[in-house]
């Protein structure tokens, strides 16, 4: 009887460990996460616009149908990424996710404060390798440190009314996401 009780207690304690390990491992082993769903329909280091969600098909669950969405799936191992997103009439935002959907940074048109959102995305090592003086002259340039080399940049433009969807899509179509292979210009 005591042995059975001991078995149950041991099982539950072990179960707690299994639970913790599996929760922590789930983001890494999930095969239907957002990145895996987007990988076949987006280009690497380039802007791909996502189809509008409708009841039968949607690239991701819980997408906001009032937004036009474009994605840049990035890999920083070839160099930093330069991102430019023109601001649409109503509301534009840019969100950054790691490979495992960790939302590490997001900015909207008002906090960017300009007609075009311009960002440089680089790993911490690439940021550290920037020449000192360049960092100073580039004070007007926004540099984002990516926690990992691969991930997603999601650009969204709001269509406050359905008739404004083409405009929102057009402003996203004018955005660009490119690897900077040559050293960055010292002056701009």
């Amino acid at each position: 009887m005591i042995r059975l009780l001991f078995t149950i207690i041991a099982g539950v304690v072990l179960g707690g460990i299994v639970h913790l390990v599996s929760v922590l491992a789930l983001p890494r082993i999930a095969t239907q996460d957002a990145y895996s769903r987007l990988a076949p329909i987006t280009k690497l280091n380039a802007v791909s616009s996502l189809p509008q969600p409708d009841p039968s098909t949607a690239p991701l669950p819980f997408m906001d149908p009032a937004f036009a969405v474009a994605v840049c799936r990035y890999d920083l191992s070839g160099g930093p990424i330069k991102l430019t997103v023109p601001v649409s009439q109503a509301y534009t935002s840019v969100s950054f996710y790691t490979r495992n959907e960790l939302a590490y940074y997001a900015i909207n048109d008002r906090s960017a404060g300009r007609k075009v959102i311009e960002l440089d995305l680089m790993t911490e090592a690439q940021h550290a390798a920037l020449p000192e003086d360049e960092d100073v002259t580039a004070a007007d340039r926004l540099i984002i440190d990516a926690p990992s080399a691969a991930g997603l940049i999601v650009m969204k433009a709001l269509a406050p009314e359905p008739s404004m969807m083409p405009q929102a899509q057009a402003s996203l179509a004018a955005s660009s996401c490119k690897v900077q292979t040559e050293p960055m210009p010292a002056k701009r």
Binding site: R3, L4, T7, I8, A10, G11, V12, V13, L14, G15, G16, I17, V18, H19, V21, S22, V23, L24, L26, P27, A30, D33, A34, S36, R37, P53, D54, P55, A58, L60, P61, F62, D64, P65, A66, A90, Y91, S93, S95, F96, Y97, N100, E101, L102, A103, Y104, Y105, A106, I107, N108, R110, S111, P147, L152, V154, K156, L158, A159, P160, E161
Partner: protein, 192 residues
């Protein structure tokens, strides 16, 4: 022989308890870091780098992308103010005001996050589309049949989820109460 049996029992118990708990938390979500205002639940921390492991697991499982904190915040409702599950065959009224935000959208999904088909192709409202009263408050009628005013069709499905997303808003990780974020009421009226 008995030792093998006992070990086996312990291991089976461990696997079922552990994976069962993981499955439960990943599908239903936890109260960890959840902000509950009336019938609405938000997890503002899912849009930041210090998201809790349970939310990360549930995001990875569902395949959605959380709204980043510099972008906005999403409030979900699956029940009305009296804790009754939202039923697509009933008339549900969402009324009141929303917290300060540059824009907001109200969208209806089935419980797996898909939009619900309807002849109007109306899946939600934006803050600009909505018809308001003189005091700025609004009333959205969520129902399967056509209604006057702001009608959000349910397609007659049994269970659905309402998502109110606030964009460019002060509501976020620091928000605690209804006073900081006055969310609209959700009331079930009659059922057909």
């Amino acid at each position: 022989m008995r030792l093998i049996f006992v070990t086996l029992l312990a291991l089976i118990l461990a696997a079922s308890v552990g994976l069962g708990a993981t499955w439960m938390t990943a599908t239903r979500g936890t109260d960890l870091g959840a902000l509950t205002i009336g019938a609405w639940i938000a997890r503002p921390k899912t849009g930041t780098a210090d998201v809790d492991p349970y939310s990360r697991a549930s995001i990875a499982r569902s395949g959605e992308l959380p709204v980043g904190t510099g972008d906005g915040v999403a409030f979900l409702a699956t029940r009305d103010d009296r804790k009754r599950p939202l039923d697509g065959r009933c008339d549900v009224v969402v009324s009141g005001i929303t917290p300060a935000a540059r824009f907001w959208t109200l969208t209806l999904y089935d419980n797996r996050g898909r939009l619900v088909a309807n002849s109007l192709q109306r899946y939600g409202f934006t803050s600009q589309e909505i018809i308001r009263g003189a005091d700025g408050s609004f009333e959205v009628r969520v129902a399967s049949r056509s209604r006057a005013g702001n009608w959000l069709p349910t397609g007659g499905i049994e269970r659905y989820t309402l998502v109110l997303r606030l964009y460019d808003t002060p509501v976020g990780v620091a928000t605690r109460t209804q006073r900081d974020a006055p969310m609209p009421n959700i009331a079930t009226e009659r059922c057909s």
